[in-house]
Symmetry: C2
């Protein structure tokens, strides 16, 4: 079972107030870019403090890591052609999606819900055509988003001397509910889950099932200042009390045997 990630002994004051700053003014992110350096340069007015949580949109990370594919170089398989025809999609886009998937969860009405190589379940295996430079470019998820987060965390420590946690976020749809929300696909520096199992409520009732996902809630909170047109690809959360830990977004992936909706 995951250990609590928030410092339960912290006075209530430290939890009851949160500030979220968007990091504005980042330039177009080129493959190979020093993303931590660019964020530090752009986020200057707020700087970083120990204990901050930096949330970075997946697309900025993927661009810096060169996870772009020119669709004109893609030779779709017969299966990709079949799917594309059935769902009025670009067969080259489908081919890239299949290459990023280890399982198709649902395929209906033009929507492909895929399990990515990491284990995340999302539309199109996270392969996106929007907010990408060039007419034919598709953007893939980072190969290892936890490693991306850890790299940013290390770089911020080295370049700014600040001990922060880092979350890589992406917008995912949900069954049963309209609209996408930002969730964590990479985590470094905090536990993404916090358990209340075994804790007593104020009436003495022992909680049996409550595990919260603060990493996803932190990602969602920052979407409110990011927007989807990529003006603000990073944000800083200040005032969230947590105990530093290695962390991994894979803790957010429900094991197949425990999942009622595969």
């Amino acid at each position: 079972m995951t250990e609590p990630s928030r410092d339960q002994s912290a006075p209530l004051d430290t939890r009851a107030r949160l500030r979220i700053f968007g990091v504005r003014g980042l330039p177009e992110i080129e493959p190979g870019a020093d993303l931590a350096g660019l964020i530090l340069a752009a986020g200057g007015e707020h700087g970083f403090q120990d204990g901050d949580v930096l949330v970075v949109a997946q697309k900025a990370v993927s661009k810096a890591e060169g996870r772009l594919v020119d669709l004109r170089t893609i030779e779709p398989s017969p299966f990709a052609h079949t799917i594309a025809e059935a769902h009025q999609r670009d067969p080259r886009h489908i081919e890239v999606i299949l290459g990023e998937s280890r399982r198709i969860v649902r395929m209906d009405r033009g929507v492909l819900i895929c399990e990515t190589r990491h284990g995340f379940i999302c539309a199109n295996a996270g392969v996106d055509l929007s907010n990408v430079p060039g007419d034919f470019n598709a953007c893939l998820l980072p190969i290892d988003p936890d490693a991306s987060a850890a790299g940013l965390r290390r770089a911020l420590q080295e370049q700014a001397g600040a001990s922060v946690a880092v979350i890589i976020s992406d917008t995912f749809g949900r069954p049963w509910r309209e609209g996408v929300v930002n969730v964590a696909i990479g985590v470094s520096g905090l536990e993404p889950l916090e358990t209340y199992i075994g804790k007593l409520d104020p009436y003495g009732y022992e909680l049996h099932t409550t595990v919260i996902a603060p990493a996803d809630e932190l990602a969602s909170a920052t979407e409110l200042v990011m927007g989807k047109l990529c003006q603000v690809p990073a944000a800083i959360v200040r005032g969230f009390a947590y105990q530093p830990a290695a962390g991994s977004a894979l803790a957010l992936v429900r094991a197949p045997g425990m999942d009622l909706f595969r």
Copy 2:
């Protein structure tokens, strides 16, 4: 199609900074309590400003509305007994859950995923035994959470002269991901969805599918200061730019015909 809820013409500054205050020091909420008055009294130091979003935990609302059931008064049906035996549950709790449900979505490993009378899909139809006074009390969702939100919004306008939006939140699990997150089950004063469909990204690519659910993200953001032990049942979000609108959390419920996971 839902209209954008954020003011797209607002200068970026107003979106790029958010503050979240927990409303602490609320007393035990009794049936019939003036919840708006209690929140105003407790949230005094921050007050309310026009444009704030108040998020209130469902349990506080349900208590004020008297949505508590003494399980000792419940006579379980034969079906409730059968389910309870198969899943090692209290048959009276099961009976109350069934009474709040219009459909069972999944029933496995002691977990009941139900569609509530409102259309929300969540564990136990939202019927909870934790954070409730008395040994035998179960807490139900509000009968009409949108109306609960609208009532609080009106009361805050009358008692404090502030035009705020109100969200009633509850923690819901998600398929495929571990941990629950706070989502909106009642909304008044803003559109819960924001569409980017038809908008152009900075590269001129037209977005075809992106609809965000800021009401859920606002609910998630405030969970970070609320905690699950009910110390902080309400929080104020300041700095989120939105266009006032009637709003309804039912816009967040995906129509059955559009849902791939029913």
